[in-house]
Symmetry: C2
Subunit: 362 residues, 2 copies
Amino acid sequence: MLSATHHRVHALAHSTSSSPSPLILRPLSSLSVPSSSYVSASTPSCRTLPNTPSISQGQHSTRRKRGVRGSAPMSRLVAAGVGGESSVQLPPDVQGPCVDLAHKLADAAAAITRQYFRAPFDVETKLDASPVTIADKQAETAMRELLTQHVPEHGVFGEEHGVKFGSGAGTPYMWVLDPIDGTKSFITGKPLFGTLISLLYNGTPVLGIIDQPILKERWLGVAGKPSTLNGQPISTRPCQDISKAYLYATTPHMFEGASEAAFNRVRDAVRIPMYGCDCYAYGLLAAGHTDIVCEADLKPYDYMALVPIIKGAGGCITDWAGGALSWQPNPGDTDLVSSWPNEVLATGDARVHEVALKLLQG
Amino acid sequence: MLSATHHRVHALAHSTSSSPSPLILRPLSSLSVPSSSYVSASTPSCRTLPNTPSISQGQHSTRRKRGVRGSAPMSRLVAAGVGGESSVQLPPDVQGPCVDLAHKLADAAAAITRQYFRAPFDVETKLDASPVTIADKQAETAMRELLTQHVPEHGVFGEEHGVKFGSGAGTPYMWVLDPIDGTKSFITGKPLFGTLISLLYNGTPVLGIIDQPILKERWLGVAGKPSTLNGQPISTRPCQDISKAYLYATTPHMFEGASEAAFNRVRDAVRIPMYGCDCYAYGLLAAGHTDIVCEADLKPYDYMALVPIIKGAGGCITDWAGGALSWQPNPGDTDLVSSWPNEVLATGDARVHEVALKLLQG
C-alpha cells in the first residue's frame, strides 16, 4: 500500500502544473502527523491587539444555532497589526502536495460544471433531474475519486455524498467540498457560482480554493501564506467606517427571525447592501473590492474554503459571535448539523468586523 | 452638410465589422422619415389572442407613478401564438446603419469601462470621484460624440448628460443611453453590469443592445428581427406555471410601499426569487435561462434597450399595468420624470406574464 500511495502522490505532483509549491514526493497517507498544531505568525491576517482576549483559530463558538444568543469575548481587532493569534497550518511537507491535489480537484470539477452550464432546462422538470443536480453530483464524484486515488486515508465531507471520516495517518485531515456553490446562479445561467474546496486539519480550515470555472478565476488560500487570485497576491482593502462599507449577502431570504433582525442591523449601518453573489462575494472581498459579507443558514462546505482565503488576504472571518469557523466531527456523532457554525461574517478590515459583530449581537 | 453626413455614415458602415446588416450608404440625417410607423408581424413576440384587447407597442400606460393604481385592459397572452399585434420598426434603409452605429457606441463604451473596472478604490472617497462615476461620464461622452459625429439631428437621452431633442429629419429618433447599468456591481468588481444602448422611433424602442464588456457578451434586439447573443439567435423558454418560475430583481430595496406589496405577491408565487443582476437578468431571460424579471424605480435608460431584445426573443415586457414601455417627450416638457414608466415586468412566456400582471395589480 505504501508504495502504491507513493506512486499516486508522485504522479500527482508531476501532473499538476497549476501549483507553485515545491514537489513533495512523500506519500500523504504515510506521513507521521503530529497531534499538536503547527503555529506561525507569518501570514497577514486579522489579528488581536495585545492585552485583549484572543479569538483563536481552534476555538469553537459557544453559539451554533440561528439567532444571536451568547457573546464570545470581543477582541479589539486591527487589520494589519501584529498580535499573538496563533495560526494552525498544514505540516510543511504535506502542504505542497495538498495544494497540488486541490488544484486537481478544481480542474476536474470545472470540466464537468462547464459542460452543464447553460444546458437547456425544462423548468417543469423536477430539480433532481436538472442540469445543476447532475453537474453537482458528477463533480463531487469526480473530486472524491481523486481523493480516494491520492489520499485514501483522508476524510471527506461533501454536499451530495455526506461524510467519510479519515483513518490512520489521515485522521486529522478532512476535505470539505461544494461542487457548485450557487446552484440558483448556475441554473439561471449566471456565471458567479463557484466550486469550493477546502482541507481541514484537526478541524481548522488550512487550505481553500474558490474556483469560478466560467470566468476562469481561481482564489487560493493556504494558512501561513498570502492568498492569491489566479496566482497573483491579493489583499483586502481598508475601511474604517461601517457607514462607508459595501455589504454582500446571497439573498435577504437566508435570514429568519432573530437572524433577520441581526442582519438588518448591519444592513442598515452600511453604505450599500447588495445581493446575489454566493461565494463570489467572498472572493471580491479578499481581492479588495467589497467590505463585508454577512450570511446565515450555511453549512461547512459553504464557508470552509473561504477562511484561509480571507485570512491570507488580511481579512477577518468568524461566526456571528466572533468564534472561529472550525468543525471537527467524530465518527460517533449522531447530529452533525448542530455541531457546525451556520452564520458567517467576513470583513476586509478588523475595525469594521468589530462594529459588525456588535451590531449582530444587538 | 449632406455630403459631409453621407461621408460620416459611409465611413461608419465600412468601419464596423460587428453588424451583419447590409451596408446602407444613405445618410441618416437626410432620410425622409414617414410620420406613420412601419408595421410588421414577422417577429416572434409576445402576442395577443384574437378577440381580446391588444396591448400595442405605441400605447402608453395610463399609470406612470409608483404603486398599482388603475389597470390597463388585460389581454390574454400567449407566447408563440399568431396574433394581430403591430410592431413599430425602423424604416428599412435606416435600420442597418443604426445597428452599425449602436455596435460602435458599445465598443467605445466598453473600451472605457474595461479600463476602470476593478481599479483601486478608496471607499472613503466621495462617489463622484470614484472609478464608476468617472467611467460612467467618460463612456457617455464617448457615445454622445459618436452620435454627434454620425447622426447630429437625432435626439439623445443619457443618465449623465440629460436630454437633447432631435431636429429636422432626426426628430422621430431618440437614442437612450446608460453607460453603466449596475454601478454597484461595477464598483464592487462584479462583472455583471452592462452598457445599455437603445434607439426610440417615435417613442417606441426599436433597437437595443445590452453589452457586457468583461464577459464579452452582447445582446442585440431589432424590432422585426430575432434577437441575438453574440450573433447567435436566442429565444425565451416556455414556463406555463408561475409556481415553477425563476424570478430576478436587482434588489428587494428597489420596492417601497404599494410597489413592495405588489412585488411581494409575485415573489411569493414563484419557485425561487433571486437578486443582484441588473440588466444581465433580462439578458438571461431573453436567452432562455430565467422566467421573470420584475423591477421598480427605473428610468428609460434602465429598460428601453431591453424591450426589442426581450420581444425579439419571444418574451413579453411591459409596465406593471401591461402598458407598453414607450416614451416620447417634447421639447417643452417641464416634468420628464412623470412622463415615463418606472416599473417593468419581463417574462419569457406570456402565460406567466398574464398571471404576474394580475398579481401586481392585486
